[in-house]
Symmetry: C3
Subunit: 404 residues, 3 copies
């Protein structure tokens, strides 16, 4: 059992691999975004909402922390990632999971020539789930195959979550992005009010519909290297009538991958590429057309020395948000960003933070709820969560719409 | 929203800044020692006592851990500090707060050019309080302004505690010092006995009074660079009839800051400076006069190369405690030290540790209770704490003296 | 109070030192394996079983986490050890102990010239137990003497556990090894069945008895430098009719220490040394004779440069397990390994992992239960554990055999 033993499995089409990571419609391991189908996304978003609402009261928080208080998590993050790491920590803590971490890539066992799979199996001896981000490409997926092997041998096996490994997928980031989009397009997210903003908005935007379907999504910046964009567009393509704009500088490294572009077109996505936020389509500025703007950071740290010179000489101004550009957007269109943003380039300057459309900090917070929902799903305590929710909100008005 | 945007606020007088960090007599953020007034100090000390007493039983401990079990803390300590860090950890844990930490100054986000304020706001998305010690001067205060801005915008905002940043203030160290002094001067702290030592002591020390008022406080060692001394004298100046002795080597770096000296004199403090622990005042050795001796370590690690030579050549013997010197002190006079002590210079040799006046390890432990009390105050669960206490000690004899 | 102050105590015979670390038949501190006598081992194994069984249900897990929820642990691991560290973390978490850690050997206090004993006493101010692995030889034992001194002075004192310091003992590893052996030789450990494998096995192995007594234990590999082997053989020598085989390359560094060899012979152990796993005794291959095989890794990282050359040129093939060699072993004989194993040398190749005799991953997991049992003993909550167990399994059939 060496990493190379799993090579043939890694080479199979993604659909076959996904099959290995689920059982009776429930995920066993979370490796890539395409494991989420529309129905599962709906369920996870609904659960994230329930968790968020329960968390508002002390009683609800205490109840939630009892859900998985008997489980222990290992966060194995040998590739540094403060944000994703802390978000997973918080998600675990919300559900009472005890957290343990390994973050130093040079653990003592490496010196002693322990195989990476032995290390992971050791973790699985002590802990009940492994959430991981490692520099080894495909390592998380290999660990999931190891766990499947152990399960077949009736030995101890635990779920694996890919926390965004290497240049791979970042499935939970895509999940939280979809959750944020789904919540935003409910138009009723203002705290403490019962009245829907949707009806008000329809007076101006007569075609507006609820939910992520039939919307125009614009992605701007480093579209070639951002795992988040790749993972998210795959999930958005599950929704109906979706249009996508891709706005990137004229440099191969930064533009949408051709394979992905073709897959999207095949999936029936209405797709357009632009070289500026000020571009127009059929004479109408794209800024006025889009329903959701997803900004990204130019990932300079991944530049080769040649790219450094080429990308360094690009004019990035057409790809930076400004208050003037925001002013032209629809009044409800959320601005997202996977963060961190670049404080030198300033693809989103801080004076936009106060705009009600600036959704990027809420998006980060939504990551907690979405990841907690995923844990509830993986540990199969969905019914317990709904029971808690029903108890807390006894009138049941919300629970009628439950989507388990 | 950049650090420089807050510069004008930082330049205001301390009283104005303090106003920004409280609301209706309750602290919102804890940045500097002068935010504590006499009444608040009394309340916090009383709460620390309650927490300490409840912690003695399993039931009390479990009840305490329920007080803030629904909250999550971020301990952002990018400037190393084992002692303060662990003390805050323990304080959080006593109250059931789930702890998270960032201690590595070179987080991944810096490489990605995230602004420090974005990092803090990210933490505030996941966690309910941020306790911080950073190398950036005034960073904690800037973060508190950011949180105030967010609050005004009705966005998510959390309390900030300064855990002793840069060369700034160290307010919670001053708080625990005052708590230790206050407890010591109750003269009834011996476990398991009901009888007050105060009456016995009064036979010998006829002027002795209860509490920190009307006492002689001596500070010895590195008075110029110790944040703890600066923060503590400010708090002690709130008490009545206080005398202060400052005993430091004849080197500008080590002596009391002139500004602070003038402020103390203006505040009516009876202040004297000496160049040896063996000095006398009005013919009486100061060792026999003092009611409390606060020792400090010469902070060699902050020496410039010129200071290294100068300070290295100083005779430190007059500033080191010895059993002989301790023998001359009043039988009740506590010896404090913010720790760590220098095991080479030995400002307090270990053979003094067994002396009943050696209070420095209890002082460390008091830090837990004092910091826990501060958390109870910040999260506004004071009434819940008193309810727990009243339930636990039903006869109510102690609760009559409650000072909320 | 300096480390050197304890030198005379360290030089006393081990029996006298052990006396200092117990009180009324209960351990106060855990420093070396010989502190465990046969009766205590039996008790700890029985407790580990109870903890393991309670952990299987949510209710049982939640009850266990309430046992020590009022206590806080410090894991001071300045000598890196991922495995032991995580195992202790998990053990603490099972019992609800809140965990804190110091793992960086260069803490801030060292720069400030704090003495190591001051650091430890500081930890004991905040936490209720210290589990430690440090590079300083005998440091853990000195800390235990410091705690004893404090106890005598009626100051705060907490238990110390040696987590495997320097070239010293590794008592908790030996405990978990004995627990694994004891469990294996119950022959009823298959989950979900009530039927004992023992009766089936007796048809083929007519002399087979229950429990660790009257068994042949073989140790193979780096016997000179492995603390685990040294600690374990000491404990196994407490059992009756034990035979030991030592199989090591012909190099002084790797072979059983002469002193230990003599002690074992004096203790009446039937002892044999071999230079290959294929050796025979009285014409019968030792592989067919042994009841338990304990494999170890050649600890290359401790080679001197001379040893590097010498040991590098040894033929290790006679000391590596292969499927062929495993096939010759008794059908029940467990294979143990303290882990990590060397993925280059492959003393146990991964294709043996699926063999039912491969016990090394269960052994790791047993470490959690054994260490949790030790914590229950140290904190004197044994009766509470048994009460929980009796409540959970009310028919009481198991509790009649309880060995407290």
């Amino acid at each position: 059992m060496d990493l190379s033993d799993y090579e043939w499995q890694l080479k199979r089409p993604v659909r076959m691999r996904a099959n290995d990571f689920e059982r009776e419609g429930r995920l066993k391991h979370v490796l890539f975004a395409s494991q989420f189908n529309r129905s599962l996304l709906d369920k996870l978003c609904a659960m994230a909402d329930k968790i968020r609402e329960l968390s508002k009261s002390k009683q609800g928080s205490d109840d939630l922390r009892h859900l998985l208080s008997h489980k222990r998590a290992m966060l194995y993050f040998t590739q540094p990632s403060t944000r994703t790491f802390l978000s997973f920590m918080a998600a675990c803590q919300i559900l009472g999971l005890t957290c343990n971490e390994v973050r130093d890539p040079s653990t003592s066992s490496e010196v002693k020539r322990e195989s990476p799979l032995d290390s992971i199996r050791m973790f699985s001896s002590y802990f009940d789930i492994i959430i991981m981000r490692s520099k080894l490409p495909d390592f998380a997926e290999c660990c999931a195959y190891l766990m499947n092997d152990l399960e077949r041998q009736e030995r101890r096996s635990v779920p694996i979550i890919n926390g965004g490994a290497g240049t791979d997928q970042h499935p939970t980031q895509a999940l939280l992005d979809v959750y944020t989009i789904q919540r935003t397009f409910q138009f009723d997210h203002h705290e403490g009010t019962r009245r829907s903003r949707f009806h008000d908005l329809r007076r101006k935007y007569t075609d507006l519909t609820l939910g992520p379907d039939r919307k125009v999504y614009a992605f701007c910046g480093d579209l070639g290297r951002g795992r988040t964009v790749r993972s998210l567009v795959e999930l958005l393509s599950l929704f109906e009538g979706v249009t996508m704009y891709f706005i990137a500088p004229n440099h191969e490294t930064l533009q949408l991958d051709v394979d992905l572009r073709n897959r999207l077109v095949d999936a029936g996505i209405n797709l357009h590429e632009f070289d500026s936020l000020d571009a127009t389509l059929d004479g109408v500025p794209i800024l006025e057309r889009l329903d959701c703007l997803y900004m990204t950071r130019i990932q300079r740290e991944h530049n080769s020395s040649q790219q450094e010179a080429e990308i360094g000489s690009l004019d990035l101004a057409p790809f930076l948000l400004t208050p003037e550009r925001v002013a032209r957007m629809k009044s409800y269109a959320p601005i997202l960003h996977p963060f961190p943003r670049d404080s030198v380039v300033q693809e989103i300057p801080t004076d936009i933070d106060q705009d009600p459309r600036a959704m990027y900090f809420r998006q980060a917070r939504n990551g907690m709820w979405a990841r907690a929902a995923l844990l509830v799903h993986l540990f199969n305590v969905v019914d317990d969560l709904y029971d808690l929710y029903d108890q807390a909100f006894k009138d049941g008005s919300d629970s009628n719409t439950r989507t388990r």
